[in-house]
Symmetry: D2
Subunit: 256 residues, 4 copies
Amino acid sequence: MRVFSEEDLERAKAFFDRAGLPAEWVEVPHQGRTLHVSDPSGAPIEFCATMDVKPRLVVAFERHHGAVPQRIDHFQLLVPDVQKACEFWISMGFRLSEYISPDGTDDLLFVFLQRKGNPHDIVFAPGDGPRLHHAAFSIPESYHFFYVCDLAGEMGFAANIEFGPGRHGPGHALFVYMRDPDGHRIELFNTHYQVMDIENEPVRWDASHAIQRRWQLPARRQWFVEASRFAGVAPREPARKGEPMSLEKFLAAGRR
Amino acid sequence: MRVFSEEDLERAKAFFDRAGLPAEWVEVPHQGRTLHVSDPSGAPIEFCATMDVKPRLVVAFERHHGAVPQRIDHFQLLVPDVQKACEFWISMGFRLSEYISPDGTDDLLFVFLQRKGNPHDIVFAPGDGPRLHHAAFSIPESYHFFYVCDLAGEMGFAANIEFGPGRHGPGHALFVYMRDPDGHRIELFNTHYQVMDIENEPVRWDASHAIQRRWQLPARRQWFVEASRFAGVAPREPARKGEPMSLEKFLAAGRR
Amino acid sequence: MRVFSEEDLERAKAFFDRAGLPAEWVEVPHQGRTLHVSDPSGAPIEFCATMDVKPRLVVAFERHHGAVPQRIDHFQLLVPDVQKACEFWISMGFRLSEYISPDGTDDLLFVFLQRKGNPHDIVFAPGDGPRLHHAAFSIPESYHFFYVCDLAGEMGFAANIEFGPGRHGPGHALFVYMRDPDGHRIELFNTHYQVMDIENEPVRWDASHAIQRRWQLPARRQWFVEASRFAGVAPREPARKGEPMSLEKFLAAGRR
Amino acid sequence: MRVFSEEDLERAKAFFDRAGLPAEWVEVPHQGRTLHVSDPSGAPIEFCATMDVKPRLVVAFERHHGAVPQRIDHFQLLVPDVQKACEFWISMGFRLSEYISPDGTDDLLFVFLQRKGNPHDIVFAPGDGPRLHHAAFSIPESYHFFYVCDLAGEMGFAANIEFGPGRHGPGHALFVYMRDPDGHRIELFNTHYQVMDIENEPVRWDASHAIQRRWQLPARRQWFVEASRFAGVAPREPARKGEPMSLEKFLAAGRR
């Protein structure tokens, strides 16, 4: 992840040191001084303040292909303790934009955190973890959702389209999830709004509402449980296993 | 359905009379002389050459709402004998644009017929019939597929979105199927090409290829077997029951 | 232009022979028997019923580039006598879909004729002629209008974008006109409706209304007067010169 | 304009006081403590940290009409001394994202400043000022540019569409400028990228390049010189009058 300045990097180092968490300076090609840390879930995170600058492609129209992804929008991690992850990342300076709680409780089941005015920069969902659920890229228009699916289908990657296109509840964006040839999950996503004003309270979603079908059918079970391991980090199980409304469960229940 | 001229109506009457099929002149409000017939499957069909002309709404932008449907594109019927339906409608003047045959045979399993240069004006699929599977409306852009789903979801009709958005094999168009509050199925559909040249051979699809997943997941079983009955016409079963690759079957088979 | 059948070609030959106009059979690579004729304005027209069939590219998504043009939609010619051209082409079997007349008269100033259910297949506008004003290609979505302009700009062809994007009065479509490197004019165009029912009267536009600014500014003078000559056919002037509302005139009049 | 916190408001007050510029606390309905200041050009600016929170409309699809504007993106002011404005606003904490300089000089002719990761939040252009050139709203897709123009045309506001749709040089976005019934200028605009990393140098545009035609024709002269006065603030002329390449000049020069 990017921080704004070298001073912010120093602050991050001190923050992780104080928390008794791993934090060390490393050399990484094509970027400035780089900090490797582990968050309380054990997820390895990389911070730097500068990178080699490449020419912008936003108007390099001849090089616009496929979904025309424009930037990394956010990451989602599965962690065994969402509440703990949320508290830690807020103490680091992130702000909670939306969250899902079991009805009638204030437990944090699923949290969306932002730092740069995006609806979310990092998302924590419950599950065996830490594992990387997906990285999301922002794409321009409705047209690109269909075009990238059409391309994938034509190129023999239909089975890599895992979920969508559809419309999210929290975050509100259109999405489609794909698996790359190694099985890592990518979200293509559009986002047309910003979340940055101090009076914006985090938006609460009751779990019973959050799992309601928007217009797309629910995701298959694999979307809820499959994720990418971090090298050398063994996932741990959450204290309580969730009960996601998967497509398989939805159909078995005879729901429409 | 529309025919071009009063002379064509007369020809249609004579055609059905010769075939020994019901054909009678009726009065229908807002349209010219009207012919009610039954095709060999027993499906009731209405023909006329003229209707009251209403102002075009194509540039009445203030009245563009939702999916902005622009015209009826085609109808799809379930019939117990697709081969027979196809032969009859071709003898009436329709042309076969695409068809699905079981691999290695020339049987007609699923046929797309056109008369006015659309990829298809009437489609016959196998099943208990005659029943109306859906009526399709042409809509303008990718954006409208998402917008109409979003609207439906917001208005509490998420469960009425039955299949899609997705990309068809035969016909190639983007589609979404919805059920109206009475359960009748509507397809919203875009179509950007014409089929009209005499040297265009009907396009053959092997059944094994036609059922392959494009990028969307397969339709639920209900899409294959539920359809609207015609008043007073009892459906008959086909000689051989099909084995559609439904979403339920797809998931049970552990396919991706 | 395409006709449907070899019989239609024969009919076309007889029609031009009866009219005392040039009509001869020629050999043209990649197409069936071909008829070369001249219409009353002297415009050379080619008819055939069949061509070599090429694979459809409508779902060859990897080959979709730029504006993704899908088919030739229509041609527009400048002719010195629009009324005469219109009468001749109607007698050949075309139908008038829309026309512009000077207010309070029934003169035909500008005519849109169709044969295959398009809003127009051939258009006649007044001017030194016969000359080819443009050939129009149908493109899919709003997005493609911008994308093709962006590409053209990036590739150094900004000056080739002559008029638009904008919205037509007659025909109603979105459009953009470009000049190819030889100066020939191409229209990229979308069209989402069909004109085919017998009770549809031709739509009349008063000239004063037709020249009103829709939302785009008027075309530059060059759009009205520049066109491609046919080889070996000298243009003749119309009896009465028109007074198009060019962008230059619009600005000089201080209009907004 | 919004600041993030009450502390930032205090800092702004102190900043303007130190600069000897007007700055006073005022009461404004529907927002928290509010600061009214004048910048060195005399432009009246309002800052606050909180406002009454209204329900988000991003997924209130039934209320999506016209261009579906989503948020205020930026303001553009005409000022007699762009260099001075730029230096002042940078000292307040804004960052320069792009700028136009006369070829071969480092003068600031036209500057784009951002604070919240937008390509620009405030823009200063040379002219009689201070005057408000326009306020810009972000809209979702290509489709909405055409739809809002079509609606405006249908509702009798064609003459209010002043410039575009077109593609910007600096900032890169698609745009269309409209004048509201009182003559104030609104830009509808899309923006799909963020500018926030510290190693991003401000992008320089040579004036000769910045005025080159992208694909749209240049703006009419009125776009360069007409703007909204601030109540009670008399505009002053710049030391040197600019020579914008207006549409009128472009056509008079016989350029294409």
